[in-house]
Subunit: 231 residues, 2 copies
Amino acid sequence: MNQEVTKCDCKECMLRPLFFDNIEDKDLKNVCNSKHEKSFIKGDLICEEGEEIGDFMYLKSGLVKIFKKVNHNRDQIIKIARPFDFVSMLSVFSDTHYKYSITALEDSTVCYINLSAIKKLVNNNGRFALNLLKNMSKNSDDLIDTSINISKRNLRGRIAYVLIYFAEYIYKSNTFELPVSRKEIGEFIEMTTENVIRTLSEFRKDDIIKINGKIIEITDYNRLKQICDFG
Amino acid sequence: MNQEVTKCDCKECMLRPLFFDNIEDKDLKNVCNSKHEKSFIKGDLICEEGEEIGDFMYLKSGLVKIFKKVNHNRDQIIKIARPFDFVSMLSVFSDTHYKYSITALEDSTVCYINLSAIKKLVNNNGRFALNLLKNMSKNSDDLIDTSINISKRNLRGRIAYVLIYFAEYIYKSNTFELPVSRKEIGEFIEMTTENVIRTLSEFRKDDIIKINGKIIEITDYNRLKQICDFG
DNA sequence: CGCGGCTTTGATGTTCATCAAGTAAAGTGG
DNA sequence: CCACTTTACTTGATGAACATCAAAGCCGCG
């Protein structure tokens, strides 16, 4: 399943500005030495609700879903996250055990930094701490925004919203392959699998999108945007 | 409306353990000197979406609602907060302007600490920073929990949930006066005013609660709990 | 090959929002 | 302080939006 990979040089890491801006080289080296990476393939479980938290982790590449069990056969997807999204914020500082599960939606690489190394850094480096606070705060704000954005829309609006989310935010293209099943879309935007499918079919019949299995092409962006904004 | 009040001694503050545990007396004194308090009466606007953020603020006494405009005549209530709930987390570290509004649901007192004083403290005191991180993280977790708790329930379940929320969490009593209107309940738990009223009336007819205007008495807690947990 | 999970569509019924209309309560100005 | 206006509350009737149930095709996997 997942496997250790050779770790990169943190100094050169693309994600450095996220957490490790304004950090002394020697501090960064310490962190870098205490860290390890794992790669996961699509579908792999990265961490599970209830497990003990040992590391601060963040997504280096790929795409993941963060979710929580609500029923036997239904999860609630809280967030679909790329690199630069703040993955590990959840519970790390408030709890000893994960409150959420994470699985890879695409092949992904995750960096693990020992929690006590992070805490030491917070202790010693105010700018690092402030940056962390900023990221967590932003993360909270985004969660609230998403939640409101979903619940205020009707079903057509939700599907339009999620399609635009994938096109603009994740893939930056009007044609993309859905990284999730119809069921998962429903678990993200609060609707049943059947209605996800039905609404997608409606959009297809209305010539707003083309569907080929998981591949979606948005052919009438303006109409879609209009439905998203309520029309 | 609101007025400045004489400030208390931070050293003795009931809320000290929340933020200012393990803090040097001289640091606390600095913070204490840079802070001020304001009192608000029920209904007062404490801060408004879009305003510039100048201070880190937290609720010292009272009860407030944190909300966001979604339409002309509908707000979304994000949180109903007491002292010890982390009020000022929102946006303070991630933005220069408030993303939410806050109004007093009961007479309230708010402490204001200059943001740069807080940031200086984060810089100089790792334990303070870690504690702040812990509070923000907890706050995020709670937001997610509440959001899921609401959206997974049907209307009767939501009303049961919110009544138990007030009885257990806010007032610690089976008899209490609602601090919010029927409309506001709807804005908190995602339902129309009419259905809030209808469902409350149903519960009254079923002898689960007694209603006298804003005063609610839970007479059959077990049934209510059952409805909350799905029955 | 067959089983289980994912997808699709249709038919049906429930849940909930909307509309309407009236009462009660609370704030406003003369 | 009382008429007036507005806001909160309440109930019923109606229809739309959505979930549920059912049945069948498809695909990947052991």
